[in-house]
């Protein structure tokens, strides 16, 4: 039973780490501030979420798991608010988003 929980939690850690790396790679590859934020949101959703799930499996049915769940809830409320504020600030300062105009032009 402990082995199964360990395997599951490590699977969560490895998958979470993978999505963090993918998000970081996306932030480097994307062309402008808005598209980079899309890549960053992979980190704060699947990356952080799977890491927290792995930690909850390690903690078991304890108060630590409750605290981790509260952290997950906080991230789910705070990160979109911060992302929206950042995107809006860029918009207000006049950062024009790169937009796809032509047909089939996939790389703006």
């Amino acid at each position: 039973m402990t082995l199964l929980v360990d395997v599951l939690s490590w699977a969560c850690f490895v998958a979470g780490g993978f999505f963090c790396i993918v998000g970081a790679a996306g932030m480097l590859r994307m062309p402008d501030v808005y598209t980079r934020m899309h890549a960053a949101s992979v980190i704060e959703t699947l990356g952080a979420g799977l890491m927290l799930a792995g930690m909850m499996l390690q903690a078991g049915l304890t108060l630590v798991t409750v605290k981790l769940a509260v952290i997950a809830l906080l991230v789910m409320f705070a990160s979109p608010t911060a992302s929206h504020a950042l995107a809006r600030a860029a918009m207000v300062r006049g950062v024009e988003p790169l937009l796809d105009r032509g047909e089939g032009a996939s790389k703006p």
């Binding site: 999505f19 993918v22 998000g23 790679a25 996306g26 590859r29 994307m30 062309p31 402008d32 808005y34 598209t35 934020m37 899309h38 890549a39 949101s41 992979v42 959703t45 699947l46 979420g49 108060l63 409750v66 605290k67 509260v70 789910m76 409320f77 990160s79 979109p80 608010t81 992302s83 929206h84 995107a87 809006r88 918009m91 988003p97 790169l98 937009l99 796809d100 032009a105 996939s106 790389k107 703006p108």
Partner: protein, 158 residues
């Protein structure tokens, strides 16, 4: 008054879960702190349907799991785009009219859009959202979406 009592209850339960030490002194301090915070919140006129939306609790139990499923699906889609050597993005702005009428409903919809990877809400006003999407398909999917209908049901408490 009912809302104040419910807020005090939730604050005290939060204290108990975060503290984990159940001595009379600490529990009394928690109760005192909860009541003090409720008193401040009442003075600031924050204890209303917007500041303490406890009536949405049951609706959240059906909306949040669906939202988590959507987040996972779109995160995988964005992952596939990032790992694609050609980087097949087509950034698109889209303006549309959300169905929600209450502040809580509009904020929930806008936050849900931002939380799902691939879409970010840029401007949020009653009756008008401006959304930046990573792909053209993603932009088409946010107008008149299932999320829109689900948040409309959620803000009604169903």
């Amino acid at each position: 008054m009912l809302k104040s009592a419910s807020l005090a209850f939730f604050l005290f339960v939060f204290w108990l879960l975060m503290s984990g030490i159940y001595e009379p002194f600490l529990m009394g301090a928690g109760l005192g702190s909860s009541l003090f915070v409720v008193w401040i919140a009442r003075r600031m006129e924050l204890v209303d349907a917007e500041g303490h939306p406890a009536h949405l609790g049951p609706a959240a139990l059906t909306y949040w799991p669906w939202l988590v499923k959507e987040i996972v699906l779109s995160a995988l889609a964005v992952t596939r785009i990032i790992l694609d050597p050609k980087l097949p993005i087509s950034p698109t702005l889209v303006r549309f009219r959300p169905r929600q009428t209450t502040t809580v409903g509009l904020v929930t919809h806008a936050n849900s859009i931002t939380l799902t990877p691939g879409t970010i809400s840029l401007e949020v006003a009653p009756g008008e959202f401006l959304v930046h999407a990573l792909t053209r398909e993603g932009a088409q999917a946010v107008t008149d979406s299932e999320m829109d209908r689900r948040v409309e049901r959620f803000e009604a408490g169903r």
